[in-house]
């Protein structure tokens, strides 16, 4: 079947099997490999992207379900390869990543979380990121990064 999906501001289209997952469409059809696959039970969030501005786990969305919609991946946060987005800048500033595998999903979940609630507390961040697993950082610096990106003082 044919799908038309606006990805990071660019119109894309392809003929795909109806069962094609959105994450595979992004990775295999478009070559956008930032979005990772970390599990097969919608548990880890490594594949988190924005679908019409809402965070979704792209391993649990069919490409067909995204037909006619717009998708933002981490690649879409920066036009020029710099950390111009406050979330990615804060992740570096606060050392919110180590191996980097959960990072694209974590960043997109954070973007969505801040969008929904600009007045975040540490507890809000922790519960808001419950669907995104990281094995390296113990979340300590991820939480700090999200607070910094939201304009909060992580030491407060």
């Amino acid at each position: 079947m044919k799908v038309e999906i606006n990805v990071n501001g660019t119109a894309t289209t392809a003929d795909v099997e109806p069962r094609t997952l959105l994450v595979h469409y992004l990775r295999d059809n478009l070559g956008l490999k930032a979005t990772n696959i970390g599990c097969d039970t919608t548990s880890c969030g490594a594949c988190t992207v924005l679908l019409d501005g809402e965070s979704v786990k792209s391993c649990t969305v069919l490409a067909a379900q995204a037909d006619g919609l717009s998708v933002t991946t981490m690649e879409g946060l920066s036009d020029d390869g710099t950390l111009s987005h406050p979330v990615t800048a804060a992740f570096r500033q606060e050392h919110g990543l180590q191996c980097g595998f959960c990072t694209p999903g974590m960043v997109m979940a954070a973007v969505s979380l801040i969008e929904e609630n600009p007045d975040l507390t540490e507890a809000d961040v922790r519960s808001g990121l419950e669907g995104n697993l990281c094995r390296c950082t113990g979340y300590h610096n991820i939480v700090r990064a999200v607070l910094v990106a939201a304009g909060k003082d992580p030491d407060a």
Partner: protein, 755 residues
């Protein structure tokens, strides 16, 4: 001003935060063009004989290029851990018998991965089930053998379980307890992946791994080719935690298939495959016995271990030996005895996982110290202080060959207790108990020492300055999240003055870097880092020799002007400056060097955990944890603390949440992320890190390793805290993970209620 010891942001991050890392499954390398996709058919049964395999339907499925079984495979079965029972060899695809759920049985190769999943369903394997050996008692009694030809289920063993008559004879108090250091899953966020091509008589293998060179050597041996005929390349690696060391059977199979089929082959496992296919960690059943006097003096300690090797002995069969070596912890105990037996069971093989042998030692001795303190009615902090190895006792011999290098164990504990406000916490605990509060406070301590670079303290490094002023550093270390590119660049910058952004660190390509021991056992900075430090220093000396003639000066009078990355004459501001780049333009300016400390180092520390336990539901939550982790001077506090955070989280996770269990038939009960308790941000607190730096004499910068310390320290502190919360109710031990049902049950049992 020195860059060493300063908070430098990672040079790795811009790529990770824009286009993302390039992991094995992301590769678009032209050598992999036209690759087939491997899907493995894995055993759904723990123990069975295979009576037939019918691949005919699968071979007819769309996109299928080949379906292969053991009958097609000429690879020799491998003894993964070479000191295990020689009969316990592992085939790459199961031959006549399967020994664990998840064991590969058939290989399906397709043009597209979805086709592989479809076709794998069509491979018809007839299994004739055998009784499964799941618990270690059944393994030890040997009624059912995994390898009948071995005549035993014992993979490795050492020492008598009897410490001898009189071992505890002079002790006023002796306490013994059976405890479980449960089986856990390493669960790196990136599952395993490999991609291989065979071209012109040579294998090129990309894989997710912690040591390119060791894996190349394993692959060559197992594929039966020369080391020169294998080229291993490690792309970005999404976490390892010890579980991605060496050539896993699947990696060997991917390479072999590429040659057999004449096309590149790619494989990336699902999480569900990973949870049974990747090694598990820990899995030690321990009996601890501690004896001493009522004044708090511990006189004798015995640790008896039954380790689970899983179905095919891998590195997990070696780890109880390390646990035994580290059994005494931070204490000067007159008599220490350890022994172990490691057995095969119909479960996933065990291997290294963050800490690998040392967390098991620390958990045991730290539980023992609390049990002893309880038995004699003394504060657990006081018992520890009474028995610490004193600073003047270093180097402190633990075996004929190995000694703890440096340590300040009492200072670390006191610092942790002071930071936590121990007295106030005890007072708050007492208040809650007195008023019958159902929200009980628990305070847990741990003191730990661990061994880093224990598997060998040598590494190589190269530093080359190019005519354009850029620098290339080559290292035999192998980062997978630790930040070596930043750390090694800092070490080179420190001596050369060349800006960080002009320094590129390369690793993990066996053609570029033929030798290297990789990243494991918290070894990198004190081995690979020191090798880079040494190479940069030697490069400065080489540059001075070359500059001496040009500057018409004595070498001894030359210095580096770091502001301009040049050699000049000391104390003569007007002297000419010759940059490293200028020297490189005249003649290649490169140093390759080896560093060998000749010994391991022993980081140490103390953690204090505070938990709240709901006495009515048994639910425990970690509220705070204070961590003193002393690994010598800190190169980059950003990276150092990052390692501690991750380590602490994994220790808390084991104490509170994680466990791989099996039913009596050997079916895994936590084989996906939906079932396995890997913690999210919501289950963890922020961590309170406290600094302390005691250098080692093993290397010129005094560095020890920090990768595993957090895990080793936090896990016993948290377990002790939860037990402490309910200790007044009569509970003296609860096995991990400390789930609500376990804590609640322990409370009820202590009250004489539920069984």
């Amino acid at each position: 001003m020195s860059i060493l010891g300063t908070r430098v942001h990672r040079v790795e991050d811009p790529a990770f935060l824009t286009k993302g890392g390039t992991y094995t499954d992301d590769l678009t390398d032209e050598r992999l063009a036209g690759a087939l996709h491997l899907t493995l058919v894995r055993s759904p049964i723990a123990h069975a004989t295979i009576t037939s395999i019918d691949t005919s339907a699968a071979k007819q499925a769309p996109g299928v290029v080949a379906v292969l079984t053991a009958a097609d495979c000429d690879l020799e079965p491998v003894l993964v851990f070479d000191r295990a029972n020689k009969k316990m060899v592992r085939p790459y695809l199961a031959t006549d018998r399967v020994r664990f759920v998840g064991e590969p049985v058939a290989a399906v190769l397709t043009e597209h991965p979805y086709q592989g999943e479809d076709a794998a369903e069509l491979v018809d394997v007839d299994y004739d089930p055998l009784p499964a050996v799941v618990d270690v008692e059944a393994a030890l009694n040997g009624e059912v053998l995994l390898f009948p030809e071995a005549g035993t289920n014992v993979a490795t063993a050492k020492g008598s379980a009897d410490p001898g008559a009189g071992f505890f004879a002079d002790c006023e108090v002796v306490v013994t307890k059976q405890i479980l250091n449960q089986r856990v899953a390493p669960a790196p966020l990136e599952t395993r992946a490999a991609a291989a091509a065979w071209d012109d008589g040579r294998y090129t293998v990309f894989c997710s791994n912690q040591n390119a060179q060791g894996t190349r050597d394993d692959l060559a041996e197992r594929l039966g080719v020369d080391v020169a005929d294998v080229h291993v390349i490690l792309p970005d690696v999404g976490g390892g935690f010890g579980a991605k060391i060496g050539a896993d059977p699947e990696y060997v199979l991917v390479a072999w298939l590429a040659r057999r089929l004449g096309r590149p082959v790619r494989w990336s496992e699902s999480r569900s495959e990973n949870m049974t296919g990747l090694v598990h960690g820990r899995a030690q059943h321990q009996t601890i016995t501690i004896g001493g006097d009522r004044d708090g003096t511990v006189k004798a300690y015995q640790l008896k271990i039954v380790g689970e090797a899983g179905a095919y002995p891998a590195f997990g069969a070696a780890l109880p030996n390390l646990t035994g070596m580290m059994a005494r912890g931070t204490y000067d105990i007159a008599r220490k005895h350890s022994s172990y037996v490691s057995v095969v069971t119909n479960t996933t093989p065990t291997g290294a996982y963050r800490g690998a042998g040392r967390p098991e030692a620390t958990q045991a001795i730290e539980r023992a110290m609390d049990l002893f303190a309880r038995a004699i009615g003394m504060d657990p902090a006081d018992v520890r202080r009474k028995n610490f190895i004193a600073p003047e006792q270093f180097p402190y011999e633990i075996t004929d060959e190995i000694s703890y290098d440096t340590g300040e164990y009492a200072k670390a504990l006191d610092l942790a207790l002071r930071s936590a406000g121990y007295e106030q916490l005890r007072a708050e605990q007492a208040r809650r108990r007195e008023r019958g509060d159902t929200k009980l406070l628990g305070i847990g301590l741990s003191s730990y020492v661990e061994i880093t670079a224990g598997g060998g303290a040598s590494e190589n490094g190269s530093v080359e300055v190019h005519p354009d002023g850029t620098v290339t550093v080559l290292t035999g270390s192998s980062p997978h999240g630790q930040g070596h590119a930043t750390a090694w660049a800092m070490l080179a910058h420190e001596q050369l003055g060349i800006p960080m952004e002009k320094i590129t660190v390369r690793h993990g390509d066996t053609d570029q870097i033929p030798e290297g021991a990789g990243t494991m056992g918290s070894r990198s900075l004190q081995t690979g880092g020191i090798a880079v430090h040494k190479a940069a220093g030697e490069l400065v000396e080489l540059a001075k020799q070359r500059a001496a003639d040009l500057l018409e000066a004595d070498v001894a009078d030359l210095v580096v002007d770091k502001d301009v990355a040049a050699i000049t004459v000391a104390g003569v501001p007007s002297a000419r400056k010759i940059t490293f780049a200028e020297l490189a333009a005249q003649e290649q300016l490169r140093v390759h060097t080896e560093w060998d400390a000749g010994k391991a180092t022993f980081p140490f520390g103390a953690h204090v955990a505070v938990v709240e336990v709901d006495a009515e539901t048994g639910k425990a939550a970690v509220q705070r944890i204070w961590a003193v982790d002393d690994a010598g001077p800190v190169l980059n506090p950003l990276l150092f603390d990052g390692q501690r955070h991750g380590g602490i989280a994994q220790g808390i996770a084991q104490a509170m949440l994680e466990e791989v269990t099996y039913d009596e038939d050997g079916q895994p009960l936590a084989a996906s992320f939906a079932d396995y308790g890997i913690p999210s941000a919501a289950e963890l607190p922020s961590f309170d890190l406290v600094g302390m730096e005691t250098p080692t004499d093993a290397n010129p910068l005094g560095y020890k390793g920090i990768g595993e310390a957090g895990t080793i320290g936090s896990c016993p502190a948290v377990q002790n805290a939860v037990i402490d919360a309910v200790a007044h109710l009569g509970v003296d031990h609860i096995d991990m993970p400390l789930t609500p049902v376990r804590v609640w049950t322990a409370i009820q049992q202590a009250a004489g209620g539920a069984k």
